[in-house]
């Protein structure tokens, strides 16, 4: 191979700073989008399990509409198609204040909200219906039963799939580079163009993602243990089947 590796490009010049900036932006956009996605997901996922038909339709429509179209398309939609509908002063203000970041947040948040919704729905549906009935039988209203019993239990049950989904969100945040958000993948490309060292830059990017995701996965499995409902099998079992 004629390629000569030169790992020093990663700390010479500004590369290190760029990677750090990229990481910070990735974390920022992911965290804000995650809050949006999680809120939307929990709410719409819960609504999809109740017997109030119009609400359920609305939530189902939301999920089917958003999760079946590629994220890239949503990025363009929120960045290019939506702002022109706003009044001109607001547009200018937005464009001066990181419109691409917020468009990315909305795109990621709404798209992953639809996917969190599915996770939440299956979590709630795995709780026996009679538990809900028992709550209602003591006089709790439906809303109280959901808020106090069903959702707290479902939240604990969905930690593993929700972790998965959260990791997907982080990785998908790289799609925001298509609308100019300078996140981690963007910065690795930047290093590559400045140093022409593609392998080194990509390796650095890969490793940072890997470490970030593993850190989150580990934290979440600690969380899972901490909030485990006594008597339920939550820890990964290694057994015969």
């Amino acid at each position: 191979m004629t390629y000569n590796f030169d790992w020093s490009v990663l700390w010479r010049g500004q590369s290190g700073l760029w990677l750090l900036q990229g990481l910070v932006t990735t974390i920022e956009i992911s965290v804000v989008a995650w809050v949006v996605a999680f809120t939307l997901g929990i709410f719409s996922g819960a609504v999809r399990t109740v017997s109030i038909t119009p609400l359920r339709w609305l939530a189902s429509f939301y999920v089917e509409f958003f999760r079946n179209v590629p994220l890239l398309v949503w990025m363009f939609f929120w960045y290019f198609a939506v702002p022109p509908l706003l009044p001109q002063p607001l547009q200018d203000w937005l464009f001066d204040h990181g419109a691409e970041f917020w468009a990315g947040v909305v795109a990621l948040g709404v798209y992953h909200g639809a996917r969190f919704s599915e996770v939440m729905r299956s979590g709630i549906q795995s709780i026996p219906k009679t538990l809900f009935e028992a709550a209602v039988s003591t006089g709790l209203t439906m809303a109280q039963a959901y808020r106090l019993i069903i959702i707290p239990i479902a939240l604990r049950l969905i930690i593993p799939p929700a972790t998965n989904e959260s990791l997907n969100l982080i990785k998908n945040s790289s799609v925001a580079l298509t609308i100019g958000v300078a996140e981690l993948t963007f910065q690795t490309r930047q290093i590559e163009t400045y140093t022409a060292k593609a392998f080194e830059a990509l390796t650095a990017g890969t490793l940072i993602y890997l470490v970030l995701c593993l850190a989150i996965a580990t934290t979440m499995s600690q969380l899972e243990k901490r909030f485990a409902i006594p008597g339920m099998i939550t820890k990964r079992q290694t057994g015969e089947f």
């Binding site: 538990l131 039988s137 003591t138 019993i149 409902i229």
Partner: protein
């Protein structure tokens, strides 16, 4: 206290309750029995409106459930229910299980609700389990907590849907004892059960259902001693012989 008037209920095309007429007076203990699928659970679930009916009328504590002003949440504080599968809230301690509804529905202060809960735990015989999670209790203990939870709302009526059939045989008695005490204290109770010993000792009346209809009802002595309908004879034959 409870009155069914010509009640009909369908699940889709399945006719599960057929022209039910039944009256339970205050302080009365009624045992409902019958083969699986005969509609016993559905019957009592109609009383606290877990199921709605398609025709007829149900009157609980003087109020018709069809009344437009009727409030299901209010009804349910007056009617306690205990399920076959306990249905304790797994993420809460025993104490929290019991105090949840009193504080959230009745607005009782936390301290007050805990006092009541502790008294009830005493009454069902497990005063020392307040801080424990349901998963760490035996089935019999769980069911007693479920009874305490229902009683915490100070209901006028208690419904039991096969409260002992998910229990190991040695634990059945401890639950039946609590229920017997409750009956002797004058609680109005409707109990779906196959525990014929309990029915004999405690019930004022036994109702036998089959295929959505009430086939026979009467005092326990008469029903167990000389069942009238061939259906009831056959049923009793099966469950008493082994």
């Amino acid at each position: 206290m409870i009155e069914f008037r010509d009640v009909d209920k369908w699940f889709g095309s399945l006719h599960v309750l057929k022209r039910i007429n039944l009256k339970v007076s205050g302080g009365e203990v009624v045992v409902v029995c019958g083969p699986s699928g005969s509609g016993k659970s559905t019957l009592i679930r109609c009383v606290n409106r877990l199921e709605s009916i398609q025709s007829g009328e149900i009157i609980v504590d003087g109020q018709s459930l069809l009344d437009p002003k009727f409030d299901p949440s209010k009804l349910r504080t007056d009617v306690g229910m205990v399920f076959q599968s306990f249905n304790l809230y797994p993420h809460m301690t025993v104490l929290q299980n019991i105090t949840l509804a009193p504080t959230k529905v009745k607005g009782l202060a936390a301290g007050e609700a805990e006092k009541v809960a502790k008294e009830l735990l005493d009454r069902v015989g497990i005063p020392d389990k307040a801080g424990v999670y349901p998963a760490n209790l035996s089935g019999g203990q769980q069911q007693r907590v479920a009874i305490a939870r229902a009683l915490a709302m100070k209901p006028k009526i208690m419904l039991f849907d096969e409260p002992t059939s998910a229990l190991d045989p040695e634990m059945i008695n401890e639950v039946l004892e609590v229920m017997t005490d409750l009956a002797h204290d004058g609680m109005t109770m409707v109990v779906v059960t196959h525990e014929m010993g309990f029915a004999r000792r405690v019930a004022h009346r036994v109702v036998f259902m089959d295929e959505g209809q009430i086939i026979e009802e009467g005092k326990p002595e008469t029903f167990f001693g000389a069942p009238q309908s061939p259906r009831a004879q056959q049923f009793l034959g099966k469950i008493l012989s082994h």
